[in-house]
């Protein structure tokens, strides 16, 4: 058990070294965007007054958090690349698979760490979003905006999962094919739609996001079996 603990600590240490800068940059970027959102709300409320601002949200579908839209996507892509691209350079993942752990377990461990980091970044952003919203808006407005932006975050996770699948795939042709499927899949989270329009699709999207969390095992297996 002791050995297991130090081993996982070591594996997490390696993953941390890979993603720390990317994670920090995205965390900071998101915080800057949210500060910008806060300042813009403040500014606009001063200029057009709160009643009109609320009116635009309630009846014209104005989304004050629209600047966030592709940030979770980019963070998912960034973390995935930071974590898995170094493993594919010179097929370095052979080293990882050679570690004295079951191959699928080490991969899932890495994946879990990446997912956790991404969730942590998202959590910070969402908490800031909720705080900003609570200052200026009633729960109804926050809720409908939250329903609008939640799919973007789920899409960010799905992007992380699908990018890992693509990066670890050993055959270029299949990378391209996976990318096509990933495009079709990820766009499901980023449809252009009115505020709160995603409400009925949230459970399905959540299930799909959770399901896609283990797809990296597939290309990991193909890599290990020497597909070329």
């Amino acid at each position: 058990m002791q050995i297991d603990y130090t081993m996982w600590k070591a594996i997490i240490y390696k993953e941390w070294i890979k993603i720390r800068w990317t994670a920090a940059i995205f965390l900071g970027l998101g915080i800057l965007v949210l500060i910008n959102i806060l300042l813009r709300i403040r500014h606009d409320i001063l200029f057009v007054d709160a009643t009109n601002y609320w009116y635009n949200v309630l009846f014209r579908g104005y989304n004050y958090a629209s600047m966030l839209k592709f940030l979770p996507f980019l963070a998912g892509l960034g973390i995935s690349a930071a974590q898995y691209f170094p493993e594919t350079v010179n097929r370095r993942i052979k080293l990882t698979f050679h570690l004295p752990v079951k191959e699928s377990r080490v991969l899932m461990g890495m994946h879990l760490f990446g997912t956790g980091s991404l969730l942590l970044i998202y959590a910070v952003w969402l908490i800031l979003f909720v705080i900003i919203s609570a200052i200026y808006f009633p729960p109804e407005i926050m809720q409908s905006t939250l329903i609008t932006i939640i799919p973007w975050f789920m899409g960010g996770l799905a992007t992380y999962f699908m990018a890992a699948l693509i990066l670890l795939e050993p055959v270029w042709l299949f990378r391209v094919l996976y990318a096509l499927v990933a495009y079709g899949f990820i766009t499901m989270f980023y449809q252009r739609a009115g505020l709160a329009a995603y409400l009925p699709a949230l459970p399905e999207l959540a299930v799909l996001t959770v399901l896609s969390s283990i797809v990296v095992l597939f290309s990991g297996y193909r890599f290990r079996k020497g597909e070329m």
Binding site: I3, T6, M7, K9, A10, I11, Y13, K14, I17, K18, P86, N90, R91, R92, K94, L95, F97, H98, L99, P100, V101, K102, F223, R224, K225, G226, M228
Partner: protein, 304 residues
């Protein structure tokens, strides 16, 4: 530990049986059999494309053979248990390592992974490198990177070392130093080494057994001393540069330039002379040439 149990039971660290592999429709080899005894150092020599990498990949479980299997300490190499993997030190061709780390980070990482970790040989090697503590491995020279990779394997203290083209990128002097160090290390600590190399120079100082591979097959596997004793090169000067030169089972390889024939064989001079007279080959002289392992390798596999 289960590994130790196997170690006592079997006398082979590696046992490959009826290995057959195709890439698509292209045959790499068929029904390949070889073993590596525990405590021995075996060198797998072969030209590029002869199947060295394929064998290494199957051995490490990164390639599923079309048929047959490789056993490492009695376990199928496709499903090695973590305990067995811990006993194997693996040097990837090109000394690939996690080069986004510096030498301290990578040592910290691996020390958490391997229970038998002994950082002494690693730091000994690192102290000789002129690198800054925060320098990433990726920014090091080829030779420095190879020493990091080798140092890590030594610190891992595995029972079986699989070294894929380990001498690549090493300076000749350092290569010899390292070969001598490695042999001493292996013999003192009862390690088994399976290595491939395309630089055959100096290899006879290191290996116990030689396994020479050509396209689709194994040419020979035997103790290197025996091979060097039995395998001979005779140079025959022909009277007529245009005369045909016969072949039979005695001639493993013949390289001819005009009247000069290099005749490679396991046979003796008497057997060769008898063969020449049987086929009425007129010659000026026949003499045996001393061979290095590299010469022998080229003699056996041909220049092309």
């Amino acid at each position: 530990m289960r590994g130790n149990h196997n170690q006592r039971k079997g006398m082979y660290a590696i046992e490959c049986k009826n290995l057959t592999h195709y890439y698509g429709k292209k045959l790499v080899y068929e029904n390949l059999n070889f073993t590596v005894e525990e405590g021995k150092i075996l060198g797998l020599l072969g030209k590029n494309g002869a199947g060295k990498s394929t064998t290494i990949n199957i051995l490490n479980g990164f390639l599923h053979p079309t048929a047959g299997e490789c056993l490492i300490y009695g376990e199928n190499s496709q499903h090695l248990t973590p305990a067995t993997k811990e006993r194997i030190g693996f040097l990837i061709e090109g000394h690939i390592q996690y080069s986004f780390m510096n030498i301290h980070q990578i040592e910290k990482f691996y020390s958490g992974i391997y229970s038998r970790w002994n950082s002494e040989p690693y730091w000994e090697l690192m102290s000789k490198l002129k690198v800054t503590p925060r320098q990433k491995i990726s920014s090091m020279s080829c030779g420095q990177r190879s020493q990091v990779a080798l140092g890590l394997i030594l610190a891992q203290d595995p029972d079986l070392l699989i070294l894929d083209d380990f001498s690549m990128g090493l300076d000749p002097g350092y290569r010899r130093l390292f070969i001598d160090y490695l042999r001493d290390y292996a013999k003192t600590n009862q390690k088994t080494i399976f290595l491939t190399s395309h630089i055959i120079q100096d290899m006879e100082r290191l290996i116990d057994d030689v396994l020479i591979m050509d396209y689709n097959r194994i040419l020979t596997q035997q103790p290197v001393n025996e091979f060097m004793k039995r395998f001979k090169q005779f140079v025959i000067r022909l009277k007529n540069p245009n005369a045909d030169f016969p072949k039979n089972s005695l001639s493993l390889n013949i390289e001819r330039t005009k009247d000069r024939v290099e005749f490679y064989t396991y046979g003796t001079l008497e057997e060769l002379k008898q063969f020449l007279s049987e086929h009425a080959v007129e010659y000026v002289s026949v003499e045996q040439q001393p061979l290095t392992l590299e010469d022998a390798f080229i003699g056996l596999t041909g220049k092309y």
